[in-house]
Symmetry: C2
Amino acid sequence: MINTALFVKMVIDRWNGSIANLDKHLGSLTDEQLQKQVAPGKNRGFYLLGHFIAVHDEMLVLLGMGAKLYPELYGPFLKEPDNIAVQTPPVAALRKMWETQNKLIHEKFRQMNPEDWFQKHTAIADADFAAEPHRNKLNVVITRTSHLQYHTGQIVLLH
Amino acid sequence: MINTALFVKMVIDRWNGSIANLDKHLGSLTDEQLQKQVAPGKNRGFYLLGHFIAVHDEMLVLLGMGAKLYPELYGPFLKEPDNIAVQTPPVAALRKMWETQNKLIHEKFRQMNPEDWFQKHTAIADADFAAEPHRNKLNVVITRTSHLQYHTGQIVLLH
């Protein structure tokens, strides 16, 4: 048996590293750059920023870490695709939300004991979890880290 | 203490899911599409395909799973950036290498016992590993899955 804290560190380090990398890129892209499409006909940069916040808000709920901070982002940045006809929201407001949310996530993750991460997330039934114990909270972070990396690869194209 | 096999399954499932997703996209992109840049002035699709193969060859070595299959890809797809002035190699050849390499990786991963994944990788000294046990083989797969997702987010822009 391997030490549980070691597993958890490996996964959370990768989440933190992915957030720090994206944050570095966001810090060096101007609001004007974020209003551009990452490639012709594809999502605009600020749409991806709003999308990250909306998805991470859903993650907080899945992890049982409280309510969404910005439920108003669900419609325009998760349910609906980017629409060039829709006016750009203030990018500065999204940047502030992103910062606030990351601080909250960091604090919530810090409060978890290693074993807590292997509890079921909030969208799986007890019976299903008994048969599929890999569908735990830590696995939610693993899949959301993949999602983060996928769209980070797109937003960097704005440089 | 959490079951080691469970943790390994979570990480390897994410690797396998990421490979399967990229494979699906590669299968639906033509050779002509892969010769295009993912965004103006950025890497061409086939460069990313060669880059994946070169990076995963390096991973095989790091994991102590044998020598590289295609060492000739290191120069043009990892050491050197994409260069539009360089002629497109036969995309069909890269596709074949990708398929062969994935089969080998799948088989090598299948042969590992869960505990084996927590051994040190081949690029870290014993003394360093004693102090930093998270720098193990499974962590190499975690970071390479991030890399895979990052560039998958770019290659899908060719659709």
